[in-house]
Symmetry: C2
């Protein structure tokens, strides 16, 4: 939006840029929140002052994001310390995560990975099962990279493996991020999250979702009205990776012209979620608790 | 085993070959059954007669397999015709399948795909959601290929997508194969099957497992004692596929030296299974019903 103000600070042009940005991610809600906020702040300003105000706001969001994620890490750390495995002194503590919600997705700390980094920084022996997260492999490429850089022990696993690992007692905690949370605690997140929540529920493994308050969609009551982005077939039929010589390329994993479907998110109903980890602390996934945590937003609810 | 009899028909050599074959697939049980049967048949014969007897037995197994799979298809067809969607005349009938249990895995018809082929042959409008089945992608490469050859409409999906498709009411039936079935109806099958069974259960989608009776392990009561094969890390970190020029190669999907874990199967407890489709008909997943269907095996039970 700051770039858009530099190109053309006229309100009509900015509204078009805003729409384009929002439509690029129909399921995620933080982006819509940030774009709406910036438009509100720019509307009453003269054109010439808009670029500077936009930049100041963007920097402010960035700072707030860092602080939010740090707080999420501290709140999540308390959950790790309260795990039966931690109390029984069983080590390492095994955490399963899906997709990437670390410092490559958020700023500095990340959401779902922030408690892991906090625990690691405190010297807690922690090990992460990284879901590869097909079709885009954000787990394999981003989360693996982050954990490796931070020196946190991990193993990459196919998305199919999580249920078996939980059956075998090899997961103490599931920790994922969110793209949108309804005010009653249902969570839209990367496709496949719901399957892990089912397995966690079936095996009595705590399942926590970490996100900053800007991820809450106060206007949507039922998860059934969250739009689920349908992405390109190519993301399923072609897998991107590195050849032995380092070249990045894509290989086709099915016969030519294999038709594919590619829903990018799914919704985990609140009944499968143990708790929500926010920058204001941990909360139960229901409307009453969420509203109490964010009283300033209750007027958004119709 | 026939090849082994040609190399050295001595019983000690045959036993070694048998062990090697059985150990190559610790989770699947059909192979162990066939190898045990052939050894029994050859033991009392003179060395010179063993190769011919082995070949005759192998041919007999092959014929029986074709007939078993045809019968599984007919039994499964009745399940398709009894689906609410079929009765309400909703078309196509949407079936989700995992891994490959078609004519590339079994002979001529396959197990899980046999009911689909029977329905298609009867002119029923059927559509298949094909789980790609990471890490080996048997769905993407084998099942897609088979369905395409047979002219059955399908879409390839990431393994993560199945839960969402069921939540959206886009799956009328889940149909999978089995590598080993305990006598009380628990099913070991390709990793990820359990996650789909959980989603089917949560969304009241019927979940059926198709297999010939030779897949039943009469000696194992609890699924916890089924050995789960742990395969190479490379299968997770490297994805095999076709470059644009047709060359088959592998690409690495994570950073260099990414550690991976690769359990190849998981177990779906019988409580999540609607029914078992065998060559003798459909049966409830419990010891009483399974024993009644195969009374000749009840003496195998300790």
């Amino acid at each position: 939006m700051w770039l858009a103000t530099q190109e053309n600070p006229d309100l009509v042009a900015l509204q078009l840029a805003a729409n384009e940005l929002i439509e690029s991610r129909p399921t995620a809600i933080n982006l819509r929140w940030a774009v709406d906020e910036i438009l509100k702040k720019l509307t009453d300003l003269p054109d010439t002052e808009r670029p500077a105000r936009a930049l100041a706001f963007v920097e402010e969001v960035c700072e707030t994001d860092v602080e939010s994620c740090r707080c999420i890490g501290l709140a999540g750390l308390e959950i790790i310390k309260a795990l039966p495995a931690f109390k029984k002194n069983e080590r390492p503590i095994n955490v399963l995560t899906h997709c990437n919600a670390g410092w490559l997705a958020c700023v500095d700390w990340g959401s779902a990975l922030s408690p892991i980094y906090s625990a690691h920084a405190e010297g807690i022996d922690i090990h992460v099962w990284v879901d590869e997260t097909r079709p885009r492999n954000q787990g394999a490429s981003l989360t693996s990279f982050e954990l490796d850089q931070q020196g946190v022990p991990f193993h990459l696993v196919s998305d199919n493996a999580g249920g078996h690992l939980m059956q075998e007692g090899k997961v103490d905690l599931c920790l994922v991020g969110a793209d949108r949370v309804t005010r009653n605690g249902d969570v839209a997140n990367k496709i496949g999250t719901y399957l892990k929540a089912l397995a966690a529920h079936d095996n009595e493994v705590p399942f926590y979702v970490a996100f900053p308050g800007t991820t809450i969609d106060w206007s949507t009551e039922s998860w059934r009205s969250i739009p689920i982005e349908e992405r390109s077939e190519d993301e399923v039929t072609l897998v991107r990776g590195r050849l032995e010589d380092g070249t990045i390329t894509s290989v086709s994993i099915g016969p030519n012209n294999t038709p594919a479907a590619n829903p990018a998110f799914d919704v985990t109903p609140s009944r499968l979620i143990t708790g929500l980890i926010t920058e204001r602390g941990v909360v139960n996934p229901n409307e009453y608790s969420i509203k109490n945590l964010y009283p300033e937003y209750s007027n958004f609810i119709q």
